[in-house]
């Protein structure tokens, strides 16, 4: 089912959770709503579900206006962060719940319910826990049961709120691979909320990046990672080195040093932030080089094919610059450069991405 969100606004007291959000979720995709804590992503998910009403704007489900429809009529499957399994019911009863509360005329027979619940239990590979209570299951198992319960009512769309948030790292990895496989099997339109960029990049077909109640960028994981559209997108996704300064000819001037870049789109004197991914950052062992920002090597990690070098700003931390840098270089190059801890070097970006820094409110 397609979901369309038009000009949604939502305020809690003085806090603006969603600010004129418009979005299209195409049919059958697994979409991640990604953003930092408090960015409004969960609120958006709850507005789509009908668990929260927007102050203004419209929600279209399959092209039909559902803005005023009750959560009970929207036929969306919602999976809660803390599962919200009914404690006094067995796993079986939990999954059967949505079928048993249907009006008498639409309610399946006991036999049909039994068959369906068994099928769903098999789907989530937990047939053997049918008669247990939620308290007797592990976190990962509870999450899978919560998913099966949501699927039982044959929802038109599946909404998952931080589905792996409460799980430990190992189970989280397993479960997200499993969710991806499940989605490939069922092809039900799904939206999941996460603050974990790695999770979004690995699992989803498409990422919606949210910040401060607004959408920053929409795109495939590849696009989001390789071509961040805004400075927020750049700093939120993946590790990044950040340099602040202003434009001066073909350079970004950072303090009294400069970084070369192709500055056609910028006026002289404009405040900017320049980003460079660790693998796109170069180390120049000559600290007298004219191009580059100086730093001191703090630690060298890893001795395999790729080495990670951690650096700190050289000497006194100068204004407008982050103090820590990270550079990934091939192990061989590490040898050639002959780098050692404590050494003073300069840093340069191979592919420097520069964004104007109007308000200077960089989220870090």
């Amino acid at each position: 089912m397609s979901i369309e969100v038009q000009h949604i606004n939502k305020t809690f007291g003085t806090f603006k959770a969603l600010n004129d959000v418009s979005l299209n979720f195409p049919d059958g995709e697994l979409v991640a709503l990604l953003g930092p804590s408090g960015c409004g992503k969960t609120t958006l998910l709850r507005v789509i579900a009908g668990l929260e009403y927007a102050d203004s704007g419209r929600i279209l489900l399959d092209g039909i206006d559902a803005t005023d429809k009750d959560v009970r009529q929207r036929r969306v499957g919602f999976v809660f962060q803390h599962y919200a399994l009914f404690r006094h019911m067995t796993v079986f009863e939990n999954i059967a719940f949505g079928l048993r509360v249907r009006p008498r005329g639409e309610r399946p027979s006991e036999k049909e319910i039994r068959a369906k619940v068994t099928r769903l239990l098999d789907l989530v590979q937990l047939g053997w826990v049918a008669n247990r209570f939620p308290s007797q299951l592990s976190g990962g198992q509870r999450q899978r049961i919560a998913l099966a319960r949501a699927l039982a009512v044959e929802p038109r769309v599946l909404l998952l709120d931080e589905p792996f948030g409460a799980l430990d790292a190992k189970v989280r990895k397993e479960l997200r691979r499993w969710l991806r496989t499940l989605h490939d099997e069922l092809h039900i339109s799904s939206i999941f909320v996460t603050h974990d960029q790695e999770e979004a990049l690995e699992v989803s077909d498409r990422i919606v990046l949210v910040n401060k109640g607004r959408i920053e960028q929409i795109g495939s994981p590849r696009e989001i990672y390789d071509r961040p559209a805004t400075s927020f997108a750049y700093s939120f996704i993946g590790a990044v080195n950040e340099f602040r300064g202003h434009v001066e000819g073909g350079y970004v001037r950072v303090g009294d040093e400069k970084l070369h870049f192709d500055g056609r789109d910028f006026k002289d004197g404009q405040q900017v932030i320049a980003f460079s991914r660790p693998h796109d950052t170069e180390i120049v062992s000559d600290d007298q080089s004219e191009d580059g920002v100086s730093a001191r090597i703090n630690r060298i990690l890893g001795s395999g094919s790729v080495a990670r070098v951690e650096l700190v700003a050289n000497g006194d931390a100068r204004e407008g610059r982050k103090d820590f840098f990270e550079v990934e270089i091939p192990g061989a190059e590490l040898q050639t450069l002959g780098l050692s801890t404590g050494q003073r070097v300069k840093l340069r970006g191979r592919r420097l991405s520069v964004f104007s820094d109007q308000n200077g409110n960089q989220t870090s």
Binding site: F12, G38, E52
Partner: protein, 297 residues
Amino acid sequence: MAGVAASFDARSSTAGKFEANPATRDSPWVKFVVIGLGLTYFAVFLLLPLIAVFTEAFRKGAETYFQALVEPDALSAIRLTLLAAALSVPLNLVFGVAAAWAIAKFQFPGKNLLITFIDLPFSVSPVVAGLIYVLVFGLQGWFGPWLHEHDIKIIFAVPGIVLATIFVTFPFIARELIPLMQAQGRDEEEAAISLGASGLQTFWRVTIPNVKWALLYGVILCNARAMGEFGAVSVVSGHIRGETNTMPLHVEILYNEYQFAAAFAVASLLALLALVTLLLKTYVEWRARHSASEEHA
């Protein structure tokens, strides 16, 4: 989503998160019926009796009212009530703290049984509570003959009243402290000891500040019950006017003598005490929540 969660909480304390949530909101007529029935019940069983006490007390005018309060027997009843509370509350306070310290900070066998025993006086009828002291100290009781020989009066005298009051208020402070101190564990005390504090310093500077609101809460409830106890005290008192009458017993005597206005006048003092108790209790609850939410912030 810490930001959103925080604003949810802020809302819940002010306007009711349940009414703002489409999944937990009840239809207006359900709300109307529930509140209507609930408040009617509340009014008939709680509010009316409270109002009746004061209306009846002033039925014969303010003069009769104050006369009933300054009459010597009334004053003596007030004194005895204050005495009983002044003895039983501190004793039960010391007991409550000691019991909570032992139970919450140490492991020993039979702990659950001990907790059950501490709760016992709550489930014993006040009349039985009075009776047991008669069986121990009364003329036909275990120590009765010996006490009589030495001319010590416990039953039908002030000591009996104090004992009965201690019994019925026995668990109040302990049962506020035990669960709280158990939940707090002993990490902070161990930290204090490891930093060189003595046992007493640890107790006064770490333990007591952590439980002060629960302690106060227990004291307030304990005091209310101590001043208001009727059944147990009635059994051991002997109803000697001006000597062994507490305020509730004095109310009974006046009432049985058909001095209704005077009975309600003394009763109104006790009702005021109840209202002050509720006010203090609400304040302490509010303060305790307040300091708890500060800790979480």
